[in-house]
Assembly symmetry: C2
Homo-oligomer: 327 residues x 2
Amino acid sequence: MDAIDDANQLRETPKNEVMSFFESAPLLKDAAEIEKSLKEFVDRNTSSSGNLSGKANRVVCITSGGTTVPLEKQCVRYIDNFSSGHRGAASTEYFLNAGYSVVFLYRRGSCQPFCSSLPDDPLLECFSVADDSSIEVDALHAETVKSAITENRAAVAEGILLKLPFTTIFEYLQILQLISVSLRDVGPSAIFFLAAAVSDFYVPWESMALHKIQSASGPLDIRLTQVPKMLSMLRNEWAPMAFHISFKLETDTDILLAKANMALKQYKMHMVIANELSTRKEVVIVVTEQEKVTVRRDCTRAGAEVESPLVELVVDRHSTYIKKFDA
Amino acid sequence: MDAIDDANQLRETPKNEVMSFFESAPLLKDAAEIEKSLKEFVDRNTSSSGNLSGKANRVVCITSGGTTVPLEKQCVRYIDNFSSGHRGAASTEYFLNAGYSVVFLYRRGSCQPFCSSLPDDPLLECFSVADDSSIEVDALHAETVKSAITENRAAVAEGILLKLPFTTIFEYLQILQLISVSLRDVGPSAIFFLAAAVSDFYVPWESMALHKIQSASGPLDIRLTQVPKMLSMLRNEWAPMAFHISFKLETDTDILLAKANMALKQYKMHMVIANELSTRKEVVIVVTEQEKVTVRRDCTRAGAEVESPLVELVVDRHSTYIKKFDA
């Protein structure tokens, strides 16, 4: 299970694997509603007469949190991918500040934009009820709470932040496809910033147990199938003009850069952001065909996040990318 | 995988399986701190001179939410058990109202007492910032939000609600053992109300992959070992005097009552609460040696929960149980 990927991995993902994944997946609920909100979002945030290099027309799809893989159709047990969603939530804030509109495709219950520096349970931890029965925020958290509420309301009201939730790998990939089709007209002004922790293995829907798996007296053997590598599909078929950024998270530093390079080549990503589980909040390495840039959190500023210089770098490289199309 | 448990299941859990589970489990962080807070909680809520049948001395340990099973030591992937924690959180409120003190052993991020009727993300959904920069609650949610904040603060301040979080099956079972030892002196006045969705299968720590499992080109086979049935240990060794209630959740109605009866006999539970995934918020069946009682939500009252009549019934049967010891 610990073998490093070999050259076999460089093969293209066969289209029939992808087709069979989608054909066997449970139907996405609310697909029509999601398409409608995406269409309105794109109409609102791009103008056909606009200058493609103007940031006003720039859109980023940020995926965030982990996808689940159900082990039963009437799901009691599932395999999950650890991800608080902090990276995606914080990056959303910096992209909005940089003038981008954001489609935030997030795991239900994961970290939300503008809330990443709040306690786990802000309602019970930050508030109290005064004698006159009005609700008060504790002084310690007042500023953070106020700016979270204000900035979130503003972004949603201005229509520059569209939040779409998912739970399973099936929902995630189907919604991602809808987003990529909706953003096709945005061309090179669109970024896919794929920070979600996506399941590598799953149980195909048709071979899944219907009911809760019973605990018999022996061990349980589960055979998991590899999820087709959708990055190739996204890059080559769904959104061929967009600027594509994927993430590589490992716990073993020795293989991290090799794996990041592999992803860059295999999926023709424009940028791979390599990060190691234990230091991911301090430092990431941005890998492109031309460069390897180490991006660090500004330790001299309290509350500074590594996502601030990271998004700054991404925006700069995205500008260069767009210019190539203008020329 | 779908076979109904057979008579083999009625065997006792061998003690060496349990010992080996605990010996190989990663060490519980903060064990000393948890023991200290439990000791203070028990001292505060029971008096040695008290009358055992007085509710003032009654304590319930409510477990809530699902336990996880890591698939890697440096955990990226894990198997999770679906459970919002709503049952445990709502039951906590009703037990507090009935005069019990509550140890709430809950999955991090799961539903909290007094918050079960709030939206998923109360901070962003219920609040706004007024022109004078004060924080306001939307009229629609004002009462629910206020009572959530007030009642939670009151319960914590009075010291009648002790919240202890867990994530993995290893943490859950180690903390449950600490609680059972701490509640030993409470004798028959203690209830274990085991609403958590506990993993049946796990990967033993010593055979677990150290790093993130690599996605090679083929399928992935995982062999899971059965978690030793700790209910027997809890019932017979850790807290032999307490009143024990376990839950049986199934998606297949046909096997539900048979499984509930099996659990009653196998683990010598005083009560098993049987519930079916799709109707669990409407109806549960309380199974004891003497009776089978169907408990339904009061559909005539808006906002009524099935946990209200359920806890009422539990408290009544617990009173009868305590009286046997007084006699």
